[in-house]
Symmetry: C2
Subunit: 215 residues, 2 copies
Protein backbone atom coordinates (compact mmCIF):
# COMPACT_ATOMS: atom_id res chain seq x y z
CA UNK A 1 0.00 0.00 0.00
CA UNK A 2 0.98 3.61 -0.29
CA UNK A 3 3.44 4.56 2.39
CA UNK A 4 3.80 8.01 1.01
CA UNK A 5 1.53 9.68 3.50
CA UNK A 6 1.01 10.05 7.19
CA UNK A 7 1.19 7.40 9.85
CA UNK A 8 -0.46 4.00 9.84
CA UNK A 9 -4.15 3.93 10.72
CA UNK A 10 -4.05 2.71 14.28
CA UNK A 11 -0.49 3.39 15.31
CA UNK A 12 -0.91 6.46 17.46
CA UNK A 13 -3.79 7.61 19.59
CA UNK A 14 -7.39 6.95 18.71
CA UNK A 15 -7.98 10.46 17.50
CA UNK A 16 -6.44 11.88 14.37
CA UNK A 17 -5.61 15.34 13.28
CA UNK A 18 -7.68 16.58 10.42
CA UNK A 19 -4.64 16.86 8.20
CA UNK A 20 -3.36 13.33 8.63
CA UNK A 21 -6.81 11.82 8.41
CA UNK A 22 -7.47 13.59 5.14
CA UNK A 23 -4.09 12.57 3.77
CA UNK A 24 -4.73 8.96 4.69
CA UNK A 25 -8.14 8.95 3.06
CA UNK A 26 -6.96 10.76 -0.05
CA UNK A 27 -4.20 8.22 -0.48
CA UNK A 28 -6.59 5.31 -0.17
CA UNK A 29 -9.09 6.98 -2.45
CA UNK A 30 -6.49 7.59 -5.13
CA UNK A 31 -5.64 3.93 -5.15
CA UNK A 32 -9.23 2.73 -5.30
CA UNK A 33 -10.33 5.28 -7.89
CA UNK A 34 -7.37 4.29 -10.04
CA UNK A 35 -8.22 0.61 -9.83
CA UNK A 36 -11.98 0.79 -10.23
CA UNK A 37 -12.81 4.16 -11.75
CA UNK A 38 -15.19 6.63 -10.18
CA UNK A 39 -18.28 4.56 -10.81
CA UNK A 40 -16.70 1.30 -9.75
CA UNK A 41 -15.15 2.63 -6.58
CA UNK A 42 -17.15 2.37 -3.38
CA UNK A 43 -16.84 4.39 -0.23
CA UNK A 44 -16.80 1.14 1.71
CA UNK A 45 -13.74 -0.10 -0.17
CA UNK A 46 -11.92 3.18 0.24
CA UNK A 47 -12.71 3.02 3.94
CA UNK A 48 -11.35 -0.51 4.16
CA UNK A 49 -8.13 0.46 2.39
CA UNK A 50 -7.75 3.44 4.70
CA UNK A 51 -8.53 1.27 7.71
CA UNK A 52 -11.41 3.47 8.83
CA UNK A 53 -15.13 3.01 9.19
CA UNK A 54 -17.13 4.31 6.28
CA UNK A 55 -18.96 6.89 8.36
CA UNK A 56 -15.62 8.42 9.22
CA UNK A 57 -14.92 9.12 5.56
CA UNK A 58 -18.12 11.07 5.30
CA UNK A 59 -17.07 13.11 8.29
CA UNK A 60 -14.03 14.43 6.39
CA UNK A 61 -15.43 14.25 2.88
CA UNK A 62 -19.21 14.71 2.85
CA UNK A 63 -19.72 13.13 -0.57
CA UNK A 64 -17.94 10.75 -2.89
CA UNK A 65 -17.74 13.41 -5.55
CA UNK A 66 -16.01 15.84 -3.24
CA UNK A 67 -13.45 13.24 -2.30
CA UNK A 68 -12.89 12.40 -5.93
CA UNK A 69 -12.53 16.04 -6.86
CA UNK A 70 -9.72 16.49 -4.36
CA UNK A 71 -7.91 13.43 -5.62
CA UNK A 72 -8.02 14.80 -9.15
CA UNK A 73 -6.92 18.24 -8.09
CA UNK A 74 -3.93 16.82 -6.27
CA UNK A 75 -2.54 15.01 -9.30
CA UNK A 76 -3.19 18.04 -11.45
CA UNK A 77 -0.93 20.08 -9.21
CA UNK A 78 1.87 17.55 -9.54
CA UNK A 79 1.30 17.50 -13.27
CA UNK A 80 1.65 21.25 -13.50
CA UNK A 81 4.76 21.41 -11.38
CA UNK A 82 6.63 19.39 -13.98
CA UNK A 83 6.23 22.42 -16.19
CA UNK A 84 8.69 24.48 -14.23
CA UNK A 85 11.57 22.49 -15.63
CA UNK A 86 10.38 23.32 -19.10
CA UNK A 87 10.64 27.04 -18.51
CA UNK A 88 13.97 27.14 -16.79
CA UNK A 89 15.61 25.56 -19.80
CA UNK A 90 17.57 27.49 -22.30
CA UNK A 91 16.90 25.35 -25.36
CA UNK A 92 14.77 22.44 -26.59
CA UNK A 93 17.28 19.71 -25.91
CA UNK A 94 17.53 20.66 -22.27
CA UNK A 95 13.94 21.76 -21.79
CA UNK A 96 12.11 18.96 -23.52
CA UNK A 97 14.61 16.40 -22.30
CA UNK A 98 14.10 17.44 -18.70
CA UNK A 99 10.36 17.59 -19.17
CA UNK A 100 10.34 14.02 -20.44
CA UNK A 101 12.41 12.94 -17.45
CA UNK A 102 10.08 14.72 -15.04
CA UNK A 103 6.92 13.32 -16.58
CA UNK A 104 8.34 9.82 -16.66
CA UNK A 105 9.16 10.16 -13.00
CA UNK A 106 5.58 11.17 -12.33
CA UNK A 107 4.35 8.17 -14.30
CA UNK A 108 6.47 5.97 -12.10
CA UNK A 109 5.86 7.58 -8.70
CA UNK A 110 2.26 8.63 -9.14
CA UNK A 111 0.85 5.97 -11.43
CA UNK A 112 -2.45 5.86 -9.56
CA UNK A 113 -2.95 9.58 -9.74
CA UNK A 114 -2.14 9.56 -13.42
CA UNK A 115 -4.76 6.89 -14.01
CA UNK A 116 -7.38 8.87 -12.13
CA UNK A 117 -6.58 11.89 -14.24
CA UNK A 118 -6.73 9.88 -17.45
CA UNK A 119 -10.01 8.35 -16.44
CA UNK A 120 -11.46 11.74 -15.62
CA UNK A 121 -10.49 13.21 -18.97
CA UNK A 122 -11.60 10.13 -20.87
CA UNK A 123 -15.05 10.45 -19.41
CA UNK A 124 -15.38 14.03 -20.56
CA UNK A 125 -13.84 15.73 -17.54
CA UNK A 126 -17.13 16.16 -15.69
CA UNK A 127 -15.34 17.36 -12.57
CA UNK A 128 -12.38 19.37 -13.82
CA UNK A 129 -13.62 20.85 -17.07
CA UNK A 130 -12.99 24.33 -15.70
CA UNK A 131 -9.34 23.46 -15.09
CA UNK A 132 -8.95 22.35 -18.68
CA UNK A 133 -10.44 25.58 -19.92
CA UNK A 134 -8.43 27.88 -17.70
CA UNK A 135 -5.23 26.61 -16.11
CA UNK A 136 -4.38 23.95 -18.67
CA UNK A 137 -5.20 26.17 -21.61
CA UNK A 138 -3.02 28.95 -20.24
CA UNK A 139 -0.19 26.57 -19.49
CA UNK A 140 -0.37 25.08 -22.96
CA UNK A 141 -0.39 28.43 -24.72
CA UNK A 142 2.61 29.51 -22.69
CA UNK A 143 4.59 26.45 -23.69
CA UNK A 144 3.56 26.84 -27.31
CA UNK A 145 5.12 30.29 -27.28
CA UNK A 146 8.36 28.91 -25.92
CA UNK A 147 8.50 26.22 -28.57
CA UNK A 148 7.70 28.70 -31.31
CA UNK A 149 10.55 30.86 -30.13
CA UNK A 150 12.91 27.90 -30.28
CA UNK A 151 11.76 27.22 -33.82
CA UNK A 152 12.21 30.84 -34.80
CA UNK A 153 15.72 30.75 -33.38
CA UNK A 154 16.49 27.74 -35.52
CA UNK A 155 17.06 25.50 -32.53
CA UNK A 156 14.63 22.88 -33.78
CA UNK A 157 12.62 21.95 -36.84
CA UNK A 158 9.32 23.69 -37.59
CA UNK A 159 6.99 21.29 -35.84
CA UNK A 160 3.45 22.15 -34.76
CA UNK A 161 4.05 22.81 -31.04
CA UNK A 162 0.58 21.63 -30.12
CA UNK A 163 1.03 18.16 -31.54
CA UNK A 164 4.49 17.97 -30.05
CA UNK A 165 3.04 18.61 -26.61
CA UNK A 166 0.38 15.97 -27.17
CA UNK A 167 3.09 13.52 -28.11
CA UNK A 168 5.05 14.31 -24.96
CA UNK A 169 2.01 13.87 -22.77
CA UNK A 170 0.88 10.73 -24.52
CA UNK A 171 4.21 8.99 -24.54
CA UNK A 172 5.12 9.65 -20.94
CA UNK A 173 1.70 9.07 -19.41
CA UNK A 174 1.37 5.84 -21.33
CA UNK A 175 3.86 4.25 -18.95
CA UNK A 176 1.51 4.96 -16.06
CA UNK A 177 -1.90 4.55 -17.63
CA UNK A 178 -1.01 1.44 -19.61
CA UNK A 179 1.44 0.20 -17.02
CA UNK A 180 -0.43 -3.03 -16.65
CA UNK A 181 -0.15 -3.77 -20.35
CA UNK A 182 3.54 -2.94 -20.35
CA UNK A 183 4.04 -5.12 -17.31
CA UNK A 184 2.29 -8.03 -19.00
CA UNK A 185 4.40 -7.61 -22.14
CA UNK A 186 7.44 -7.52 -19.86
CA UNK A 187 6.71 -11.05 -18.73
CA UNK A 188 4.52 -10.01 -15.82
CA UNK A 189 7.16 -7.99 -13.98
CA UNK A 190 7.15 -4.23 -13.50
CA UNK A 191 9.90 -2.34 -15.28
CA UNK A 192 13.05 -2.24 -13.19
CA UNK A 193 15.38 0.72 -12.80
CA UNK A 194 17.36 -0.14 -15.88
CA UNK A 195 14.27 -0.54 -18.01
CA UNK A 196 12.86 2.77 -16.85
CA UNK A 197 16.11 4.43 -17.79
CA UNK A 198 16.00 2.72 -21.18
CA UNK A 199 12.46 3.96 -21.69
CA UNK A 200 13.45 7.53 -20.91
CA UNK A 201 16.50 7.36 -23.13
CA UNK A 202 14.58 5.93 -26.04
CA UNK A 203 11.85 8.52 -25.81
CA UNK A 204 14.31 11.36 -25.56
CA UNK A 205 16.41 10.03 -28.39
CA UNK A 206 13.51 9.64 -30.77
CA UNK A 207 11.73 12.87 -29.97
CA UNK A 208 14.76 15.13 -29.69
CA UNK A 209 16.16 13.79 -32.93
CA UNK A 210 12.69 13.84 -34.46
CA UNK A 211 12.26 17.54 -33.85
CA UNK A 212 15.76 18.30 -34.97
CA UNK A 213 17.02 19.40 -31.56
CA UNK A 214 19.99 17.03 -31.70
CA UNK A 215 21.92 15.39 -34.49
Amino acid sequence: MAETTAASPKATSKKMRRQEAEALILSAAEKVFAEAGFGGATMQLIADVAGLPKANLHYYFPTKELLYRQVVQRIFQIWLQAADIFDQAEGPEEGIGAYIDAKMEISRRHADGSKVWASEVMHGAPVIQDYLETTLTDWTNGRIEVIERWIAEGRMAPIDPRHLLYMLWATTQHYADFGHQIETLNGGAPLDDVQWEAAKTNIKTIILRGIGAVE
Copy 2:
Protein backbone atom coordinates in the same frame (compact mmCIF):
# COMPACT_ATOMS: atom_id res chain seq x y z
CA MET B 1 -25.05 8.84 -32.14
CA ALA B 2 -23.18 6.10 -33.90
CA GLU B 3 -24.54 5.52 -37.35
CA THR B 4 -22.03 2.83 -38.04
CA THR B 5 -24.33 -0.07 -37.34
CA ALA B 6 -27.70 -1.42 -38.32
CA ALA B 7 -30.96 0.39 -38.73
CA SER B 8 -32.62 2.77 -36.32
CA PRO B 9 -34.44 1.21 -33.37
CA LYS B 10 -38.06 1.46 -34.39
CA ALA B 11 -37.83 1.97 -38.12
CA THR B 12 -38.78 -1.45 -39.38
CA SER B 13 -41.00 -4.13 -37.95
CA LYS B 14 -41.38 -4.83 -34.27
CA LYS B 15 -39.16 -7.87 -34.32
CA MET B 16 -35.46 -7.74 -34.96
CA ARG B 17 -32.99 -10.22 -36.24
CA ARG B 18 -30.53 -11.41 -33.67
CA GLN B 19 -27.66 -9.94 -35.63
CA GLU B 20 -29.00 -6.42 -35.93
CA ALA B 21 -30.26 -6.35 -32.37
CA GLU B 22 -26.86 -7.36 -31.07
CA ALA B 23 -25.15 -4.80 -33.26
CA LEU B 24 -27.47 -2.09 -32.04
CA ILE B 25 -26.90 -3.00 -28.41
CA LEU B 26 -23.15 -3.34 -28.81
CA SER B 27 -23.01 0.07 -30.39
CA ALA B 28 -24.97 1.67 -27.58
CA ALA B 29 -22.96 -0.20 -24.98
CA GLU B 30 -19.67 0.95 -26.49
CA LYS B 31 -20.80 4.52 -26.22
CA VAL B 32 -22.03 4.26 -22.66
CA PHE B 33 -19.05 2.25 -21.43
CA ALA B 34 -16.75 4.81 -23.01
CA GLU B 35 -18.52 7.68 -21.32
CA ALA B 36 -19.05 6.20 -17.88
CA GLY B 37 -16.64 3.29 -17.52
CA PHE B 38 -17.73 -0.20 -16.65
CA GLY B 39 -18.73 0.63 -13.09
CA GLY B 40 -20.47 3.83 -14.00
CA ALA B 41 -22.41 2.42 -16.91
CA THR B 42 -25.88 1.06 -16.21
CA MET B 43 -27.87 -1.43 -18.21
CA GLN B 44 -30.77 0.97 -18.05
CA LEU B 45 -28.78 3.74 -19.73
CA ILE B 46 -27.48 1.40 -22.41
CA ALA B 47 -31.04 0.31 -23.02
CA ASP B 48 -32.19 3.91 -23.33
CA VAL B 49 -29.44 4.73 -25.81
CA ALA B 50 -30.30 1.65 -27.82
CA GLY B 51 -33.99 2.49 -27.62
CA LEU B 52 -34.91 -0.84 -26.12
CA PRO B 53 -36.37 -1.95 -22.81
CA LYS B 54 -33.79 -3.12 -20.33
CA ALA B 55 -35.13 -6.65 -20.21
CA ASN B 56 -34.48 -6.94 -23.92
CA LEU B 57 -30.80 -6.37 -23.38
CA HIS B 58 -30.67 -9.26 -21.01
CA TYR B 59 -32.31 -11.41 -23.64
CA TYR B 60 -29.35 -10.95 -25.95
CA PHE B 61 -26.62 -10.43 -23.35
CA PRO B 62 -27.38 -12.27 -20.11
CA THR B 63 -25.06 -10.18 -17.95
CA LYS B 64 -23.42 -6.79 -18.03
CA GLU B 65 -19.99 -8.41 -17.96
CA LEU B 66 -20.74 -10.51 -21.02
CA LEU B 67 -21.89 -7.45 -22.92
CA TYR B 68 -18.80 -5.55 -21.84
CA ARG B 69 -16.55 -8.40 -22.84
CA GLN B 70 -17.91 -8.39 -26.37
CA VAL B 71 -17.45 -4.65 -26.67
CA VAL B 72 -13.81 -4.99 -25.66
CA GLN B 73 -13.23 -7.92 -27.98
CA ARG B 74 -14.63 -5.99 -30.91
CA ILE B 75 -12.25 -3.07 -30.53
CA PHE B 76 -9.34 -5.43 -30.00
CA GLN B 77 -10.05 -7.02 -33.38
CA ILE B 78 -10.00 -3.64 -35.08
CA TRP B 79 -6.83 -2.80 -33.22
CA LEU B 80 -5.13 -5.97 -34.46
CA GLN B 81 -6.21 -5.49 -38.04
CA ALA B 82 -4.17 -2.32 -38.22
CA ALA B 83 -1.17 -4.59 -37.89
CA ASP B 84 -1.56 -6.03 -41.35
CA ILE B 85 -0.34 -2.80 -42.86
CA PHE B 86 2.78 -3.08 -40.79
CA ASP B 87 3.70 -6.44 -42.25
CA GLN B 88 3.00 -5.72 -45.87
CA ALA B 89 5.53 -2.91 -45.79
CA GLU B 90 8.97 -3.26 -47.17
CA GLY B 91 10.75 -0.79 -44.89
CA PRO B 92 10.25 1.31 -41.77
CA GLU B 93 9.25 4.49 -43.51
CA GLU B 94 6.41 2.80 -45.30
CA GLY B 95 5.50 0.33 -42.56
CA ILE B 96 5.54 2.59 -39.55
CA GLY B 97 4.11 5.49 -41.52
CA ALA B 98 1.17 3.41 -42.65
CA TYR B 99 0.71 2.01 -39.18
CA ILE B 100 0.50 5.52 -37.74
CA ASP B 101 -2.05 6.46 -40.38
CA ALA B 102 -4.11 3.37 -39.66
CA LYS B 103 -4.05 3.84 -35.90
CA MET B 104 -4.91 7.51 -36.20
CA GLU B 105 -7.85 6.55 -38.34
CA ILE B 106 -8.97 4.13 -35.65
CA SER B 107 -8.64 6.85 -33.03
CA ARG B 108 -10.89 9.02 -35.14
CA ARG B 109 -13.47 6.46 -36.23
CA HIS B 110 -13.58 4.32 -33.14
CA ALA B 111 -12.86 6.73 -30.33
CA ASP B 112 -15.39 5.13 -28.03
CA GLY B 113 -13.98 1.67 -28.53
CA SER B 114 -10.51 2.97 -27.92
CA LYS B 115 -11.61 4.51 -24.64
CA VAL B 116 -13.20 1.29 -23.50
CA TRP B 117 -10.01 -0.54 -24.27
CA ALA B 118 -7.92 2.02 -22.42
CA SER B 119 -10.22 1.90 -19.44
CA GLU B 120 -10.06 -1.87 -19.36
CA VAL B 121 -6.27 -1.93 -19.41
CA MET B 122 -6.00 0.89 -16.89
CA HIS B 123 -8.05 -1.09 -14.43
CA GLY B 124 -5.80 -4.09 -14.69
CA ALA B 125 -7.46 -5.80 -17.64
CA PRO B 126 -9.78 -7.91 -15.48
CA VAL B 127 -11.66 -9.12 -18.53
CA ILE B 128 -9.06 -9.48 -21.28
CA GLN B 129 -5.91 -10.39 -19.40
CA ASP B 130 -5.70 -13.60 -21.41
CA TYR B 131 -5.66 -11.60 -24.64
CA LEU B 132 -2.77 -9.54 -23.39
CA GLU B 133 -0.83 -12.65 -22.49
CA THR B 134 -1.46 -14.51 -25.71
CA THR B 135 -2.55 -12.60 -28.78
CA LEU B 136 -1.05 -9.26 -27.91
CA THR B 137 2.22 -10.76 -26.71
CA ASP B 138 2.55 -12.78 -29.91
CA TRP B 139 1.70 -9.80 -32.06
CA THR B 140 4.21 -7.63 -30.24
CA ASN B 141 7.01 -10.15 -30.50
CA GLY B 142 6.36 -10.55 -34.20
CA ARG B 143 6.58 -6.81 -34.77
CA ILE B 144 9.72 -6.57 -32.69
CA GLU B 145 11.36 -9.08 -35.01
CA VAL B 146 10.42 -6.99 -38.02
CA ILE B 147 11.84 -3.86 -36.47
CA GLU B 148 15.01 -5.62 -35.44
CA ARG B 149 15.46 -6.80 -38.98
CA TRP B 150 15.08 -3.25 -40.25
CA ILE B 151 17.70 -2.14 -37.77
CA ALA B 152 20.05 -4.93 -38.79
CA GLU B 153 19.61 -3.92 -42.40
CA GLY B 154 20.61 -0.38 -41.54
CA ARG B 155 17.24 1.03 -42.52
CA MET B 156 16.78 2.78 -39.18
CA ALA B 157 18.68 3.67 -36.02
CA PRO B 158 19.17 1.09 -33.25
CA ILE B 159 16.11 1.90 -31.16
CA ASP B 160 14.60 -0.47 -28.60
CA PRO B 161 11.67 -1.82 -30.66
CA ARG B 162 9.54 -2.31 -27.57
CA HIS B 163 9.65 1.31 -26.52
CA LEU B 164 9.11 2.39 -30.10
CA LEU B 165 5.92 0.36 -30.22
CA TYR B 166 4.77 1.87 -26.93
CA MET B 167 5.37 5.30 -28.36
CA LEU B 168 3.35 4.50 -31.46
CA TRP B 169 0.46 3.17 -29.40
CA ALA B 170 0.58 6.00 -26.92
CA THR B 171 0.77 8.80 -29.44
CA THR B 172 -1.96 7.58 -31.72
CA GLN B 173 -4.41 6.42 -29.06
CA HIS B 174 -3.97 9.69 -27.21
CA TYR B 175 -6.07 11.38 -29.88
CA ALA B 176 -8.98 9.10 -29.00
CA ASP B 177 -8.57 8.61 -25.26
CA PHE B 178 -7.76 12.25 -24.52
CA GLY B 179 -9.92 13.55 -27.33
CA HIS B 180 -11.92 15.63 -24.92
CA GLN B 181 -8.82 17.39 -23.63
CA ILE B 182 -7.60 18.02 -27.16
CA GLU B 183 -11.01 19.33 -28.12
CA THR B 184 -11.02 21.71 -25.17
CA LEU B 185 -7.54 22.97 -26.04
CA ASN B 186 -8.78 23.40 -29.60
CA GLY B 187 -11.30 25.97 -28.43
CA GLY B 188 -14.05 23.43 -27.81
CA ALA B 189 -14.27 22.16 -31.37
CA PRO B 190 -13.29 18.68 -32.53
CA LEU B 191 -10.30 18.50 -34.85
CA ASP B 192 -11.35 19.05 -38.45
CA ASP B 193 -10.02 17.18 -41.46
CA VAL B 194 -7.10 19.52 -41.90
CA GLN B 195 -6.11 19.27 -38.25
CA TRP B 196 -6.25 15.50 -38.30
CA GLU B 197 -3.99 15.48 -41.30
CA ALA B 198 -1.64 17.87 -39.53
CA ALA B 199 -1.59 15.58 -36.52
CA LYS B 200 -0.72 12.56 -38.62
CA THR B 201 1.96 14.44 -40.51
CA ASN B 202 3.56 15.78 -37.35
CA ILE B 203 3.65 12.39 -35.69
CA LYS B 204 5.10 10.70 -38.75
CA THR B 205 7.64 13.44 -39.25
CA ILE B 206 8.90 13.33 -35.69
CA ILE B 207 8.95 9.58 -35.26
CA LEU B 208 10.30 8.62 -38.68
CA ARG B 209 13.04 11.21 -38.39
CA GLY B 210 13.56 10.28 -34.76
CA ILE B 211 14.28 6.66 -35.56
CA GLY B 212 16.43 7.60 -38.52
CA ALA B 213 14.11 6.17 -41.15
CA VAL B 214 14.11 9.42 -43.12
CA GLU B 215 16.46 12.35 -43.41
